[in-house]
Subunit: 350 residues, 4 copies
């Protein structure tokens, strides 16, 4: 199917999420990169900043500009992706929306419907609380219609995607006890961003496995928000993020106690009912383990599961690329919904 | 302190655990490598099989011989380390004990006191059940006196060490609910052994994070045996091992619900009381995260912890080298106890 | 441009080159995978053998069959890719050609025009010497017309591509002394194939850099053949392949003495003249260093160069993906030429 | 042999070379760490800065102090190791020497006997040219007696060690043509230092192989100085350093044309004559390839070689740990010579 390209802008395009977003959009027949902004790289070409894109789709000619709402609007972009740090994204979202553009924000700024939870987890008052009500938490598998209609989509975090998607069907269908959820997520180093910091050096991360943000990582806030919606009650969980020496990928183990005698087959039916038609959720089957290497650079999340009769607990396992399904790919998935493209447009590269 | 060297033998010395055992013993002033056996490498020198050891401590002259109880006994070895697959170790342990030698077995053969549990987890009747009663599960921090007196020490598995040591004090002191334990362990690839198998190839493991043996890994059997002893009741837990692209190292997250209002400080006191004098347990402190890169090639296990008031659960985090504290170093730690050497003899290299 | 798909077959499709070939072909609008063969995987689906492809382009339905010339021909395939070991490819090429199919062979079997050179380097008489004259060494940048017209294309090896492409223009234009060429190539581990061998294990390759096949690697035969053609005289070079711990990628340093006062600008002009219009050769410029991470999973080869006035030598540096430009992508590049597609069809993914 | 410990100081001890130096010295029975300085880490304990050393040899009590010549002298240190950037080391060397201490400088400041060469390669006038004449380039295998007698030893760079040691015997014995030397060195990322820079991030270095400093890396200056001394004539070579994704290790290929019909056996004899008694040079033999993984964390350099009759060139291959034999271990090797300890004291750990 031939798509009529829609002009898009990427704001804050020089980090790892921005780079991956550009990679996906360069191969997306329905998107035209009308504007790329980066304060640090203004004036340089896309090919200079990301040598990988040299010789591809106009990357040699496309130049970064300094971020400016007027310039972005003047570019003709209809949809703007914000790949900015939290707190900074909110400076652009409002003016862009006011200028009549639609916004897909990859930061945490509009993910939490309750500004007090934002303040609790991010340590500062919400910078733009008035717009939270209109923002849609952008999990395409959970609320496609709301995303399609939204002007402001808050694209989920990488860890949240890997924890929420496996659990939502079981919580909705009452198969697990919401008070018993424990999660451990292993992330590649790109998830920490492209920052010049000693702990992210190759020689610090190679041959190293280490947890961090114990016991209250910021992503807990959006995970619990979404799990609570699915469960219909307040859900609080345990969560440990662990840095592992891969560039990309998140693997997550989730434990939850079975409720009311639910068996593995029940969980399988629940997952299939929720995701059987979802093009980017691959249900591997009972007892099947995912592997991050099969999802890197794709928009897939692979999910396996098992029931342990010894403890009467379920274990759910998911694998995704933190930069794609956990960030840029998922944002483009929302973009497809917003502009009426097929769900998989531009997202089936492996 | 000058030690009078004791002759030792290593049976099955050509794998990763065997190699690491030899590395530790070559630098141990109180051990003399009297006999090295390997069916596959018989006739080759230590330097040929492990080029790392060339030029060190007689490695060029020392030759592997085929495994034979008579030859081992004739070598003058007083203590024999068995670095063999489970099931095979039992073929040697009995005859060596009968010949008057003391045995430290790194396999699973003598770790479980109940042969029916062995059969449940290993899928075959125990090959030498009669000797189980006399075997000592060799956690030096837990039962040093029994190890010192033993003729047959069953040295613990790598995952078990990383799960048991953090939990034993809390279980003994009643700080956690034994029915709420969940563990996720991340292991380096050397833990799978030096086997020519496709899933262990560099190109399969690099940029890959993947769980396996879900939900019932064999090591659960010894973990639960030891946790049950500590708790004074039968303990059943959830456990997920995950393969990560490092050569060596295990990082483990353990969750357990606090009992009776126990706080982080209580857990800290419990750990300090148990391990304050243990030379190889490094208590990092509340809120401090371990990192496998600080323990690789050492016999240390680093432990951090936290209490999450949101869930009233503890999280315990441990890091060790799967081949050292999780295998060969711990075996030498038992050796030191058995022969009356200082606990740290030969084990303080970093 | 909408392409009318041509049916293709991949023989020996379960290795790393085969997998990468399938990945490229799945995304190629002008190729339809009519037949996949693998002796080891016959009966299994593409998604089972390569979980990465699950949910993509019919990968769940497509099944491997045992290799059989009749079955391949009956599939309607017009072009057959042979991703087989050397010596084995020749068993299939002849019968397939006789059946009227065109063949792109990724093995070494038809790369050398002189069967005695094959015997010298591969240690056995050539299995099908009669067809060597009709085979075309498939470097699309060097002889596109011959490839377009060929029925049997011998697709180049990974190392040769990385050494030959940088040198051909300089040799043709007489800028370097053909008797002074020294090359060192660093390859990712996937280049050794998907073989269950101890030296290819993660724990053997990680944190390891090591040369092999010193001083006479088999690929020297085709490198020297092509350099001799370019130079118009017999060229003999030094070449050291080195295994490095990346999954994919080859980086090559080539040294050659400048001739007749040639300067860096002369070399730049020579390269630009040869490759200025070549869509997959990216000339980085004088003094610019390539990086394998910018070419992995692409069909690009990046080339930088410099002249060292201290020695009056040129240094040429190239980076490519050993499995793409060094194998499967280059084979598809020849396929595009053979069937009259645009040169870049299916090959611009990054 | 029981050694009487000598007090030493390490100045600039918080980087990778400094850390490795401390690791070696902690296990060295003849050295007592009397003073550790670091501007950035002053006031913190050794165990805080390097968690690996926690629980070892007083690392918990030992504290970094700000660098100050008076404080260092007052510590009782007899020998001072300078692990500082070039240019900075010279600020300390003179005053320390004037205060009667002996200095082993790991920087480049005193490696070049000709200050104009320093200026050519380091881009600034030499900061302390007057002391160059008294400094000894510290290759223990080349000039042990001069090192033993020196007050100021300039410990060689990592690349130079890997290039010079294989070549010196052949140049001395006239087996190779000094005008034909080409070298390519592959280094681990720790060689670039512990600097917070984007190009050194894990996600930039992982799955990346890339050359740099083409064609005139600073280390060429000391390589050529030493090769010229060995050859008895001015030697100019080609050299390409390549960054590879390992933490530690350098592998080097050196090519040189054979002279006067020299054969592999002649080169073997030359190497054996030079290094047969050298405890840290392991001659692997003709046709034997070194592997960096066998030398990491050791002070060994492994050397293999071959003669290629097709080109009448020699290829020499060396592997070392860039931080040990290429920096800190070699510095301790000089220390042993300077204070009269056995050559291998404290350096045989594997």
């Amino acid at each position: 199917m031939e798509l009529t390209p829609i002009k898009v802008a990427v704001v804050g395009a020089s980090g790892y999420s921005g780079g991956e977003l550009i990679r996906v959009l360069l191969g997306h027949g329905g998107a035209e990169l009308a504007c790329l902004t980066s304060r640090a790289e203004a004036g340089r070409s896309l090919a200079e900043v990301f040598p990988r894109f040299r010789g591809i789709g106009g990357a040699d000619a496309l130049r970064f500009v300094a971020p400016d709402v007027g310039v972005i609007a003047a570019s003709g972009a209809e949809v703007v992706f914000l790949a900015l740090p939290h707190g900074v994204a909110a400076e652009y979202a409002g003016p862009l929306l006011d200028a009549g553009l639609r916004v897909i924000d990859l930061s945490a700024d509009y993910r939490l419907s309750d500004p007090s939870v934002y303040e609790e987890f991010y340590g500062a008052p919400h910078p733009d609380a008035g717009r939270l009500e209109g923002a849609v938490y952008g999990l395409p598998e959970v609320r496609p219609d709301a995303i399609a209609a939204a002007d402001l989509v808050a694209s989920p975090g990488c860890y949240p995607t890997s924890v929420i998607l496996p659990l939502v069907p079981a919580l909705r269908d009452g198969l697990v006890d919401p008070g018993t959820i424990h999660a451990v997520s292993l992330s590649g180093v790109s998830g920490a961003g492209r920052k010049a910091e000693i702990p992210l050096l190759f020689s610090e991360c190679n041959e190293s496995v280490r947890p961090y943000s114990i016991p209250k990582h910021r992503h807990l806030s959006e995970i619990e928000q979404e799990l609570s919606i699915a469960a219909g009650e307040v859900v609080t969980i345990s969560f440990t993020p662990v840095l592992t020496p891969v560039t990309a990928g998140i693997y997550t183990t989730v434990y939850a106690a079975a409720k009311g005698g639910a068996a593995a087959a029940d969980l399988g039916r629940s997952l299939t009912s929720a995701y059987g038609e979802a093009p980017f959720v691959r249900l591997l089957g009972e007892g099947c383990a995912p592997d991050t290497k099969h999802v890197t650079r794709t928009n897939f999340i692979d999910i396996g599961w098992a029931h342990d009769p010894r403890t009467d607990r379920f274990v759910l396992m998911s694998a995704e690329d933190n930069l794609v399904k956990g960030a840029s790919g998922q944002a483009v998935q929302s973009f497809n919904l917003m502009v009426g493209f097929p769900a998989t447009a531009g997202l089936l590269g492996v």
